[in-house]
Symmetry: C2
Subunit: 351 residues, 2 copies
């Protein structure tokens, strides 16, 4: 493990990049024809095309995106702004988006805002400045200035991981509230009566908000309530959620079923139980949301909710492309989720 001393490297060699003009010269045509070969090949004679493409290859010509964007008012870049890269919570969605965008000749620009709506706005502003054509965001709740910015600059966008009940903003997702509602009903059906909730801060996070609300709704319907001391909020991390769970375990009247607003909270909770010698599911049932590998590979495996996050990514990419190209599209799509019952849940033990 040797430390390497500072080594100076020569400054980047100056742009030897070739331009459309170079290609045109080599192919014996005008720059307009070069442009046509690249953007509207059907308008160009086959032989001329061949000549131009040869020159392009020989000169390793890559069109200058900035010039192109400046002139044509479109950059073919789509921005995906997600809360976080951690725990790969959004990775499958963004992967799916990139696959679709890539296939259609668009580039995806990905950024994270760490669950900070002000940072989200700042980042988006930067991306708008860089000429990003359209945006995909996670969640329904955003700084109003974000929508103003997008409107102002005529940038299409889709919200994901939820569907706007007011139908104000195009959105593709699933019913977060219904998901935890169903899960809680399942737990009630197993016989649980005392519940705990491990949640992300609800501020600016509608997924967490809705998931908590779904749980409360199911409890209310069954005539049950969620005691204040049984609700723990904290950042999305295993360490934080383990600490939150420790507080629940320390309670005089401990919950028999704990719902995490996502798998990270649930697994953090499992860790705390293991440490404390609390058996899952005998002593306590735990559930997550998102059906991640993290949860599925625990012992016992985590009961969770398979949310359609890959489909959401694909559909979101398709929608922004359609809008960019003026085609018809479904602005609002609600995709189905599915409970995945595994070993972390069971009937509560009689005491």
């Amino acid at each position: 493990m040797s430390a390497t001393p500072t080594e100076q490297v020569t400054a980047p060699s100056r742009d030897k990049r070739s331009s459309a003009k170079d290609v045109a010269r080599l192919a014996g045509v005008s720059t307009a024809t070069v442009s046509r070969v690249i953007n509207n090949p059907e308008q160009v004679d086959a032989e001329t095309q061949r000549l131009v493409r040869e020159a392009v290859t020989k000169l390793r010509y890559v069109p200058h995106g900035a010039a192109r964007a400046l002139r044509s008012h479109r950059s073919r870049m789509v921005g995906a702004v997600v809360p976080s890269f951690e725990y790969a919570l959004y990775a499958r969605t963004t992967s799916a988006m990139q696959a679709v965008l890539d296939a259609e000749g668009y580039s995806m620009v990905l950024a994270e805002h760490h669950y900070d709506l002000a940072a989200e706005l700042r980042i988006t502003k930067q991306l708008v400045g860089h000429g990003v054509d359209a945006f995909v965001f996670v969640g329904l709740h955003h700084d109003p200035a974000l929508f103003a910015l997008l409107e102002n600059y005529g940038r299409p966008y889709v919200l994901t991981w939820g569907v706007d009940p007011m139908r104000q903003h195009p959105s593709i997702g699933f019913d977060n509230r219904a998901a935890t509602f169903a899960m809680t009903q399942h737990l009630i059906g197993l016989g649980h009566r005392r519940f705990g909730l491990l949640s992300a801060p609800t501020e600016g996070n509608d997924r967490a908000t809705e998931r908590g609300a779904g749980m409360r709704a199911a409890l209310a319907q069954a005539g049950l309530a969620l005691a204040d001391e049984c609700v723990q909020y904290g950042p999305i991390s295993l360490a934080a959620s383990a600490a939150m769970m420790r507080k629940l375990l320390a309670l005089e009247h401990r919950p028999t079923a704990v719902v995490g607003t996502n798998d990270v909270f649930a697994v953090g909770g499992m860790i705390a139980c293991r440490e404390a010698g609390v058996r899952i599911p005998e002593d306590i049932s735990i559930t997550g949301v998102d059906n991640t590998d993290l949860g599925a590979t625990q012992t016992p495996a985590l009961t969770s909710i398979r949310t359609p996050i890959v489909e959401v990514g694909r559909a979101a990419a398709e929608q922004v492309i359609a809008r960019l190209e003026g085609k018809e599209h479904a602005a609002f799509q609600t995709l189905p989720f599915e409970l995945v019952l595994r070993g972390s849940t069971a009937e509560p033990q009689k005491n």
Copy 2:
């Protein structure tokens, strides 16, 4: 879960974006002064600055990045091209990069190539076209055409997660070979004599290649060998690695210690053991690399190697910024790793 019919949304309103000219007019100055206020404020009178900034705010002016890039030959965008978003293997590195870049007024453009070097080249070409100023890649092994492209377009780049032994390409990382070498030595020290390896395909993946080599080197030094049937290659996924482990378990002369080239392989292996009723660590020891939460939260917790991936991200961002700004920098940095011994490893049981 209702399916929503296709709903048409109005086409994006036409660019109401305000230009430097608008700002200049409102502030009663020339566009040159507007540009100066934004890029070289020290050259402008304080009062004039105030006027201009007011106009900028009022008009919600965001400079047109494409025009700016076209004129100034720099976009302040840095590309991070990683193998995959899955399992958050690279998330902590890219997060660290984004934090540094963001603080310095750069934007990070993130893309994945799914362990396909041809895709990596294609994506990079697109990004170069979009005017990305500099690049960070993962790994040392890339298509030669990639380096030619970067050289040709004068784009600085850093390779990460490894350090180029030939010192040809600036690189910041750790010694992958030494990491598995140390881990294997540890296992040998515990008394293991028969080993298994769960690895990513080594084609175009120098991390996997080096990690396998480190293991073999340690074995060779101890006079041991790695039997061909004890080596399994497959894609990076829990399902694949579980399948690979099943083959090892089916062997007549089963290994007592299995090394995964990363935590995903190791955890996949653990899953297969659980299914088969093979006890960890009593019947078999398993180790990973990368020290992910996925591994740390298994039962038993996975022995792994803490690699300095956050530091790598930070240093990589700092290096590209330094180079872009013509400052001095350490082109090659080797950062330390650390074995993290947990419950998945133990002495082999006597038979």
